[in-house]
């Protein structure tokens, strides 16, 4: 799988993401600075990693969504390319209009740095085929603005089309509507989620419960 990770000023999870992709595919992803205006040809996956791009100025992900590279990412998605956004990357995807809704300040107003449990609602997406539907797995979260929100009409559409891929199991700490932790585009190729599966890919450091996301997408693009 040819993957590229896009980095912005303030991105800080790109190395974890690179390790996760390498663990799943054996290949190093390309690292791309946000000032680039084109994506390398032959790319299978674009990843928008976590962090605090532009210091979360204005709104989380708002400035990054206007970066030069994002026009190319939009084109890539429009052509059916796979795009994964984690944490700040999920915020960028909503700000860029590639996924609906928005991520609000956590209902508790507290930054949440802890483990959470996610339930897999769809096991038929490119990112979740290596999970069983309904399975739960542990991931880490580290965010101040992870409270997923959308209007009632959008929520009905997301739920009706089965686009909620992950939900928080047990306590819904950030206050997300319908306990939504991750959603996908109508074609299921653009996925955004708040928790960090890339931090759960190594048995020596926190276990491997997040690895199926990366092996799933790698197997999907190889098929």
């Amino acid at each position: 799988m040819n993957a590229a990770i896009i980095t912005f000023p303030g991105t800080n999870r790109e190395r974890d993401m690179a390790l996760a992709l390498r663990a799943a595919t054996g290949r190093r992803p390309t690292m791309l600075w946000h000032r680039e205006t084109a994506l390398p040809s032959g790319l299978d996956l674009v990843v928008l990693p976590g962090g605090f791009s532009y210091g979360d100025y204005l709104r989380c992900g708002a400035m990054a969504a206007q970066s030069p590279i994002m026009a190319a990412v939009r084109d890539f998605a429009a052509r059916g390319g796979h795009v994964l956004g984690v944490c700040n990357g999920f915020q960028m995807l909503t700000e860029a209009g590639l996924l609906p809704g928005a991520l609000l300040r956590n209902a508790s107003l507290r930054f949440l740095a802890m483990d959470c449990v996610m339930r897999v609602e769809r096991a038929d997406t490119p990112y979740t085929a290596h999970f069983q539907r309904g399975a739960t797995f542990r991931a880490t979260m580290a965010h101040g603005d992870g409270n997923y929100f959308c209007d009632a009409e959008t929520l009905a559409r997301l739920e009706g089309e089965g686009r909620v891929v992950f939900r928080y199991e047990g306590e819904n700490r950030n206050g997300s509507i319908d306990a939504i932790a991750g959603i996908c585009s109508a074609n299921a190729r653009v996925l955004g989620l708040m928790p960090h599966p890339e931090n759960c890919v190594d048995p020596l450091v926190g276990g491997t419960e997040g690895l199926p996301i990366f092996t799933s997408i790698a197997a999907h693009v190889a098929a």
């Binding site: 204005l58 709104r59 708002a62 206007q66 909503t94 700000e95 609906p100 809704g101 928005a102 609000l104 300040r105 956590n106 209902a107 508790s108 107003l109 409270n147 929100f149 959308c150 209007d151 206050g175």
Partner: protein
Amino acid sequence: MTKLRVTVFPKAGVLDPQGKAIERALSGLGFEGVGEVRVGKVMIVEVSETDPTRARAQGEDMARKLLANTVIESFTVEPA
């Protein structure tokens, strides 16, 4: 040069946890009869456009594209 004041607020029905926290803190300080508190942002934007109508239209375009996220926020643009 025209100065525009762009005011951005969470839409009605969108949770405003900062507003809620301030509401509780004001009551905690002994202020009686505090109702709902909403927290928004004010941005002053200078533009070279001198025609007020055109300057305002430009400000509204800026708000729609970047200054506000219309999924969760409403905005007003007026001369500053």
